[in-house]
């Protein structure tokens, strides 16, 4: 399993003297913010991808930028790898401890520092929870748009590191579109301000580079987010289909008609049944798939837009189309969708969430192929999609206590990701590569591209100490993985059109 780091295929570091590290850290951090005992470090052994576990060498919990600088300087001097962590809700093992690393917990950075209503920005510390921002600015009629399903718990620093999305990306964009400035600390302990309070900054677009960099380039200590006016009105439509292909066609028809839904989501039968049992959203449990289409804006435009969506869904063969009766039902429809992942707990002891993106027009083909792979690997797959932007979340159901099932889930997940690349998509839409998809990076990118990513990392972190073994594979790993895998991947999908 990939939570094991491999000396041949992953970066290696000379073993640092742990006592020396702890002694130096004690001089810059109070004792209660340094965790060195195994029982205390257990909480940090995994993130939201709980199947991957490992213990750090030591855990540090700084609560200001100066402390982060001091800690990083010590680690740089001793050659100790550093893994930064926010709320630990990430789904790709990005915060999985590297053996012997210093785990840098940023949860104490939890203050909203300032609000500029005229510029519609908020300056926040990285440990502030995603939803807390929208809650704080709601009295001013504003909100922070990216809304990952974990928004109650996940922190903004982690959102920036992963370029987190959510159900409203289709209209409002990802994290990268909704932040304006960062303060970061380099591995060398230098504080940099990038982006800023203005809409752009001179020089290269470091904001683009930092967003989604998965903790490989620097440690984020402050974020300036953009705030948007809350829409005047929002309404959601639910369309049920007897056939997932028809649901896929309806999605393409809605987008092709020039409609820009605030959200356009799809769930297949297994997923919607689980969600229904979990939150009683009122979903039709006999449907093969449902679409949830939300439109926001002026009351008349919302009504007119949904009327068009309704016609398009019926033309695509929907068996039932209806609007949420009231705000309460609208919220329930969404609660079902946002609760779809935890709801899987009712269907199987464990589930493994995959995150690929495909061109929308391949939706139906890919669904059929995922079904075939599911049967071939002997594990059920439930499907939850951000259909509007082609972002799939197949959920592989398994039982970790059954011998070999976790490994089979991992193999099936990898096959689904390679399918996404094969049809012209990507291995990750919003969860990040982390540790989980490190091998599939070799499928999506060429050696020269991987080399360029490594060179970008080296420009920021020459010793490679920040989050090693994540996001960007070594060429050795790609050589090994490529030799045993890529050709098989080609063969595996020979019956599909490439693009």
């Amino acid at each position: 399993m990939l939570d094991q780091f491999d000396d041949r295929l992953d970066p290696t570091f000379a073993t640092a003297d742990r006592d020396e590290l702890i002694a130096r850290l004690r001089s810059v951090l109070p004792a209660d913010r340094l965790i060195t005992k195994v029982e205390g470090m257990r909480v940090y052994e995994s993130d939201g991808l709980a199947a991957y576990r490992g213990l750090p060498g030591v855990v540090a919990l700084p609560d200001n930028t100066a402390e982060v600088c001091a800690v990083l300087k010590i680690c740089a001097a001793l050659g100790t790898p550093v893994v930064a962590r926010g709320a630990g809700t990430g789904l790709s093992g990005g915060a999985l401890p590297f053996p012997g690393c210093l785990l840098l917990g940023l949860a104490r950075f939890n203050r909203i520092l300032g609000l500029d209503l005229d510029a519609r920005t908020a300056r926040v510390q990285p440990g502030v929870r995603n939803l807390a921002i929208s809650e704080a600015v709601a009295p001013h009629g504003l909100f922070y748009a990216p809304d990952p399903s974990s928004q109650l718990a996940c922190s903004i620093g982690g959102n920036v590191a992963e370029n987190a999305g959510g159900v409203h990306c289709l209209k409002y964009g990802l994290t990268v579109h909704n932040i304006q400035g960062l303060q970061m600390v380099t591995m060398g302990g230098e504080v940099l301000r990038i982006g800023g309070e203005a809409l752009d900054a001179p020089g290269f677009d470091f904001m683009a580079l930092m967003t989604g960099s998965e903790g490989l380039l620097g440690v984020i200590t402050e974020v300036t987010v953009k705030l948007l006016p809350a829409p005047a009105h929002a309404q959601v439509l639910l369309a049920a289909f007897d056939d997932v292909r028809r649901a896929g066609q309806a999605v393409a028809a809605i987008i092709a008609a020039g409609i820009v839904p605030a959200a356009l989501e799809m769930m297949d039968n297994l997923a919607l049944r689980a969600a229904e049992r979990h939150v009683h959203a009122g979903y039709p449990v006999d449907a093969a798939a449902i679409l949830l289409c939300e439109i926001d804006g002026a009351v008349e435009d919302v009504a007119a837009g949904l009327a068009r969506v309704s016609v398009l869904c019926e033309a695509a063969g929907a068996s039932k189309v209806r609007l949420a009766r009231d705000e309460d039902e609208r919220k329930r429809f969404w609660a079902g969708r946002k609760g779809a992942f935890p709801a899987m707990g009712r269907m199987a002891p464990d589930y493994y969430c995959i995150d690929g993106t495909i061109p929308r027009r391949r939706l139906a083909d890919v669904l059929v192929e995922i079904q075939r792979l599911s049967v071939a690997h002997g594990l059920a797959v439930a499907n939850v999609f951000h259909a509007g932007d082609g972002n799939l979340h197949p959920l592989i159901l398994y039982d970790a206590s059954a011998p070999g099932e976790m490994e089979r889930a991992e193999t099936l997940g990898g096959a689904i990701l390679e399918l996404c690349v094969f049809v012209g998509g990507t291995i990750t839409g919003e969860h990040g590569v982390g540790r989980e998809k490190i091998n599939q990076m070799c499928v999506q990118f060429s050696e020269a591209e991987i080399e360029t990513f490594a060179a970008i990392k080296a420009a920021f972190d020459p010793a490679g100490l920040l989050n090693p073994g994540k996001a960007i594979p070594t060429l050795a790993r790609c050589a090994e993985f490529g030799a045993m895998h890529v050709h098989r991947g080609e063969l595996a999908f020979a019956h599909l059109d490439r693009l």
């Binding site: 940099l192 203005a198 752009d200 006016p229 009351v299 590569v433 960007i472």
Partner: protein, 357 residues
């Protein structure tokens, strides 16, 4: 799949790669040129011309996927005409200074039009690129799908990098449905009054996609679904004007935007700007100012920095005069290392942004 069928479409990728490889071997600078319609933008750079204008044509366009992929030498106006036939647009509204202006140049310059605060920057619409790095290797970053977080966002990095990090060969751009309704309004108010009116207005969910002040009047542009636009227009009042006014803002032909020596100030919308003699044109709801002034460059830059922003000598820099705001030493060092990662021999548009970069 509709693609352009222009007889001049050609894939010169291999030929251009050969040129870059040769330049790299000889450590000879290249000046990357598309339509060469923005030659005045940025610092002057020497070197042999690498003309990408022949590398042109739409590679893929699927309206229902909301993405178009075109070779870098494809003229912007051809792409916009194709999109218009399918009811779609480039929401970042790049200024087009000549009919030959290319999409590669538009991405490399990273200039966005009046919709910038409402729709987003050029890089927000770049989904993927194919570039030649400084060794002439053809690299693909990003892709054609909107949600894609695999690898560093090297594709967004190319927007506004002025060709210093790579020769753009192809760009995949997110396109948007053209708005159904469009109303342009104008108000007889001075800038301070307009400014205090704009801030609360921009906190409301109105279909505003343009807010500028030309020195005399405030201009607002409303775009979107019919009902919302009409409702907002009634609510806001003012006089209706020709929407074509906004073309002049976007393409910078309007009044002082065409001045031979022109400053661009990018500042927080909430910033108080100290007085400075000159003629001002405020756009982006107050987050971007165009300024024609005889004041020395240091004063203009200090003014922008004091307001929390930066100033660019957008047009009319003397040879050797700084164009972009100088970077702090640690940030400049990082820029140099990043440049080196993409272009170790420093052959791609060296010095176009900053000396030694």
């Amino acid at each position: 799949m509709p693609t352009s069928t222009g007889s001049s479409d050609a894939d010169l990728g291999d030929q251009l790669a050969g040129r870059v490889r040769a330049a790299s071997a000889e450590q000879a600078a290249l000046r990357i040129v598309g339509g060469d319609s923005k030659a005045w933008y940025g610092r002057q750079t020497g070197g042999e011309v690498l003309d990408i204008s022949g590398h042109r044509g739409v590679v893929a366009y699927e309206p229902s996927e909301l993405v178009i992929t075109a070779r870098a030498g494809t003229p912007v106006i051809e792409i916009e005409a194709l999109l218009a036939r399918h009811g779609q647009t480039l929401a970042f509204e790049p200024p087009v200074f000549a009919a030959v202006s290319t999409i590669g140049g538009a991405v490399a310059a990273g200039l966005a039009g009046p919709a910038r605060p409402f729709a987003g920057a050029v890089r927000d619409f770049v989904l993927g690129v194919r570039v030649l790095d400084g060794r002439g290797r053809s690299l693909r970053f990003g892709g054609t799908v909107f949600k894609n977080v695999a690898g560093f966002d090297a594709f967004r990095l190319m927007a506004g990098a002025m060709g210093c990090l790579g020769v753009l060969l192809e760009a995949s751009l997110r396109v948007t449905p053209a708005p159904v309704a469009l109303i342009a309004l104008t108000f007889e108010v001075d800038w301070p009054a307009a400014r205090s009116r704009l801030a609360p207005l921009m906190r409301r969910p109105l279909p505003v996609t343009g807010a500028c002040h030309d020195g005399q009047r405030l201009h607002l542009r409303l775009c979107g679904p019919e009902a919302g636009v009409k409702l907002a227009a009634r609510d806001l009042g003012g006089e209706e004007e020709r929407p074509a006014f906004w073309d002049g803002v976007r393409h910078m032909t309007h009044g002082l935007l065409a001045a031979p020596r022109l400053w661009r100030l990018s500042v927080p919308q909430s910033a108080e700007i100290a007085h400075l003699d000159g003629r001002w044109f405020w756009d982006w709801g107050g987050a971007q100012a165009w300024l024609v002034t005889d004041e020395p460059a240091e004063r203009v830059r200090a003014l922008a920095a004091g307001a929390g922003g930066h100033a660019t000598l957008f047009r009319g820099a003397e040879p050797g005069e700084a164009v972009f705001t100088p970077l702090a030493a640690p940030l400049l060092a990082l820029h140099r290392r990043l440049k080196h990662a993409f272009d170790p021999q420093g052959v791609l548009n060296p010095g176009r942004m900053y000396e030694g970069l």
